[in-house]
């Protein structure tokens, strides 16, 4: 498993997978993708890294404890939901901000929806990694 080729290739692959996962997350609102898929892809990237370099190295690369990521994502999603309250709308009502919008172009859209999807991404990423790392270390 841990041949030199695999180890060398993973460095590149993991970076690509992570980029890809974020791209999937961001484009999810308009094209196939989204938080679930992005989170799963991101998790795959780190698992690949763990397979090649061991879960200890993967944990170090991740920097944060995956459990914290999962719970943080849950909090972020909740925050995005509660933010719907603020302008007087209901819970989980989306709030949008279009930066630099003109007549013809809607500019760069930022929204609580994106925040929520990011929360989903983090929960999936964190949960899967927490599981896989723990299982790998225990077995």
């Amino acid at each position: 498993m841990t041949s030199l080729i695999v180890r060398a290739a993973t460095r590149l692959l993991v970076g690509l997978l992570l980029l890809f996962s974020i791209w999937m997350l961001l484009r999810g609102h308009n094209e196939p993708g989204g938080g679930f898929i992005g989170g799963l892809i991101g998790a795959t990237g780190f698992i690949l890294y763990a397979v090649a370099h061991g879960s200890k190295a993967a944990r170090e690369a991740l920097r944060l404890d995956p459990r914290s990521i999962a719970v943080g994502g849950l909090g972020l999603a909740l925050l995005a939901g509660v933010a719907g309250f603020l302008p007087g709308d209901g819970l989980f009502a989306g709030q949008w901000l279009f930066i630099g919008a003109t007549e013809t172009d809607k500019g760069t859209p930022l929204s609580t929806i994106l925040l929520f999807d990011l929360g989903v991404y983090l929960v999936v990423l964190g949960s899967v990694l927490a599981l896989v790392f723990a299982l790998e270390e225990e077995v």
């Binding site: 196939p32 949960s127 927490a130 599981l131």
Partner: protein
């Protein structure tokens, strides 16, 4: 009172004096309402509790509930004062006080509630807290058993009562006691209501044949016995009967049931009382007698009878609480409660003797005590009652035996030559004496001035009767039949008292024993439960799963059959090669997983199935789902592969033995799935929601991927719940892996 707070430590610390002040304050609060209620007013306060169920926490203060409330809070204050000394040094004293306060709250709620459902809740509070109190000495098996017995008997009665309440609500259209108009006697539900309420009342007030738990409940500490079994809990059933008398009373059934059960309990219990040697047990059985008497006279239901019952209620509470507390002092001062041992304590315990003599004289019905007034009225009412012979006979026999019991409990132990006792006899401390002295002096005061008691007895009797009742209590007016009967009672009682030693040994052969039967019943229940558990819960996972799937299959089959679902086989002409290949993938993968012997083959076959499913998603326009499916498939394989490193191989005998029944069940459920899916597909599809999402996605939610917009915007709350589940599952699995200390396999 003891609330001056000068010697707090002596009174059991904060727990002690709070528990003394609380009932005392309540007593004063209730007492201030005496003039209004005596004047015929009915006070009420309403608090909405569960508006949707129509449960109002109505407080109803009429003569009946005020009498009870005064007894509960007043005797409560004396009992807690007593306990502070009796149990003040007990390691669990605070716990005891909490139980006692919970009980008092329940009891007050019970008598003050106007709503039957609220009443029932408080009823159960008293059941549970009395269980805790009776079983307070929890390290004794006997104590635990007797507490459980009381709980089961009164709890079962409580369930019956609840059913009765529901029926009353149906019959009367209201749960508010004061709103029940007229009598329910002519209602079609009267019979079931009657028996259910009777079951509740008789179990709580220990009427024959549900009486056996009460003497056993004497396992409780003495203050508990004095409180629960004189003034309060056991009178809960009496209260209920009195309260329901206007609605349920007045029928022949009511009269005969209450008269026979009450009369029989009264006589039966007083005979058993004579037989006891433990003075506390003597008192327990005389409590049964008093309860029987009350039930009997509520059943009789004439003005005189209700008046007598309410007067006797007060009489009994005074002397019985005093005597119970007294026997606690004696027990404390001598180390024994055995009537055959105790003699001549008068010199060593003069105050106790005074209280005991006064209370016992009231119990024996001697003038000029309140007990005499009470007994005169019982006789007067009995002589005018329907079924006069039975009622009078019962009450005469019970009164005679009560006289004897009073002698055994309070005369004999204090007179004559001093006998050897385990502890050198000494007087109790003042907090323990305050209660008995006060209560017995009250018995004397009310006897000399019966007019005082009228203020409570008259409105109480009015409330029970449901019509105005004139009450005129007096100590002595003229020589009439009741007075003569009293004299005969004293004479007979005196003779029997002189003979009571022989009487006791004679009665010792007469042993109605309910406890072995009870124990057998409980053992039977336990054995039955164990047998049933053994039958249903074999401890074999696959049996449970089999039963679950069988039930699922059968219920679905019935539903399919009832709905008349007709699966149609759609045309197969548009099928392409890719469709057939997906089918082949999935069928092969599923069957291989089911029948392989190799773990790795199974995992690979599962992967094939998963990819096949993903292909279906791709073919039918679901790229998001397909991507997710593929990724999850990859992760599943990773997880299984990691776990497999430490798990054993599958057993190889597996394939040789085809499990016929399992296979049959599996095929049936699979076939049913196919049938249902075909039927669903044949039915027209409701696309209203989908249409909304399609229209609203871009203009409202600024998203062009409708699936994702649904997930993160329209149904974001659902999604939030789902990711929470994922996070919890992961954390749970993490804890299983890392958190548990691993025992050596």
């Amino acid at each position: 009172m003891a609330d001056d707070g000068t010697d707090r430590r002596f009174l059991g610390g904060p727990a002690g004096w709070i528990s003394i002040l609380l009932p005392f304050g309540l007593f004063l609060w209730f007492a201030q309402h005496i003039p209004a209620v005596a004047g015929g007013a009915v006070l009420r306060w309403d608090v909405e509790w569960i508006p949707s169920l129509g449960v109002t926490l109505g407080i109803l203060l009429d003569g009946l509930s005020l009498s009870f409330a005064l007894l509960i809070s007043g005797i409560g204050a004396l009992v807690t004062l007593y306990s502070a000394s009796y149990l003040g040094g007990h390691p669990h004293y605070v716990r005891f006080v909490c139980y006692l306060m919970a009980f008092m709250t329940g009891m007050l709620g019970l008598v003050l509630s106007d709503n039957l459902l609220a009443l029932f809740v408080f009823w159960e509070v008293t059941t549970v807290s009395s269980y805790l109190l009776i079983g307070f000495n929890a390290d004794e098996a006997k104590s635990r058993r007797n507490a459980l017995q009381a709980l089961v008997v009164t709890g079962t009665g409580g369930l019956a009562f609840l059913a009765g309440i529901v029926l009353i609500g149906t019959a009367a259209g209201t749960f508010s006691i004061s709103a029940i108009e007229g009598s329910l006697a002519d209602h079609a539900l009267y019979l079931p209501i009657f028996w259910l309420v009777i079951a509740g009342a008789f179990s709580k007030s220990a009427q024959f044949p549900l009486h056996f738990w009460l003497p056993n409940a004497m396992a409780a500490p003495t203050p508990v016995s004095a409180y629960l079994h004189s003034a309060t809990m056991v009178k809960g059933g009496v209260y209920l009967l009195a309260r329901m008398n206007p609605s349920l009373g007045g029928t022949d059934l009511w009269f005969w049931t209450l008269a026979i059960a009450g009369g029989f309990t009264a006589v039966f219990a007083s005979v058993l009382a004579i037989r006891q040697t433990d003075i506390k047990q003597v008192l327990a059985y005389t409590t049964l007698m008093a309860l029987g008497t009350l039930v009997l006279f509520i059943g009789v239901g004439t003005d005189y009878a209700l008046e007598a019952a309410m007067a006797f209620l007060l009489v009994h509470s005074f002397y019985k609480a005093a005597l119970f507390l007294m026997i606690g002092v004696v027990d404390h001062g001598t180390g024994t409660r055995d009537a055959t041992v105790l003699r001549g304590l008068g010199r060593a315990m003069p105050v106790t003797m005074l209280a005991a003599m006064l209370a016992a004289a009231s119990m024996a019905g001697l003038p000029p005590l309140f007990g005499f007034v009470g007994k005169e009225f019982l006789y007067k009412a009995a002589l005018g009652a329907p079924a006069m012979i039975w009622v009078t006979g019962c009450i005469f026999a019970a009164s005679v035996l009560m006289f004897v019991a009073a002698g055994i409990a309070a005369w004999r132990p204090f007179t004559g030559p001093l006998a050897e006792t385990p502890v050198e006899p000494h007087e109790g401390p003042w907090p323990m004496l305050a209660g008995p002295v006060l209560l017995s002096v009250l018995g004397l005061a009310f006897g000399l001035m019966p007019d005082w008691a009228e203020a409570l007895v008259a409105p109480a009797a009015t409330a029970v009767a449901g019509r105005p009742v004139e009450v005129d209590l007096y100590l002595f007016k003229e020589v009439n039949a009741a007075f003569v009967l009293s004299l005969v009672t004293f004479a007979t009682g005196f003779v029997l008292y002189l003979l009571h030693g022989r009487l006791r040994s004679g009665l010792a052969r007469f042993k109605p024993r309910f406890d072995p039967g009870w124990d057998r019943l409980m053992d039977g229940v336990a054995a039955g439960a164990a047998g049933l558990t053994g039958l249903i819960q074999t401890g074999r996972l696959r049996r449970y799963i089999f039963v679950t799937f069988l039930a699922l299959g059968l219920s679905t089959a019935v539903a399919v059959w009832r709905a008349g679902l007709s699966p149609e086989i759609p045309p197969l002409d548009d099928l392409e090669v890719k469709h057939w290949s997906v089918l082949t993938f999935i069928l092969a993968g599923a069957l291989l997983t089911a029948f392989t012997n190799s773990r790795m083959t199974a995992v690979a076959a599962l992967g094939v199935v998963g990819i096949g499913v993903a292909l279906v998603f791709i073919i039918f326009g679901a790229p998001d789902v397909a991507i997710t499916q593929l990724l999850v498939e990859v992760l599943q394989v990773v997880l299984v592969a990691v776990a497999m490193l430490k798990l054993p191989y599958l057993n190889h005998e597996y394939v040789k033995t085809v499990r016929g029944w399992d296979l049959l069940l599996a095929i049936s459920i699979g076939a049913m799935t196919t049938v249902i899916l075909l039927a669903v597909q044949a039915a027209p599809l409701d696309l209203e929601l989908t249409a909304f999402f399609e229209e609203a996605s871009a203009p409202l939610a600024f998203g062009r991927n409708i699936v994702n917009v649904i997930l993160v915007d329209f149904r974001a709350l659902d999604t939030f719940g789902e990711i929470a589940v994922v996070a919890v599952a992961a954390l749970g699995a993490y804890a299983l892996l890392k958190g548990v200390r691993r025992p050596s396999p």
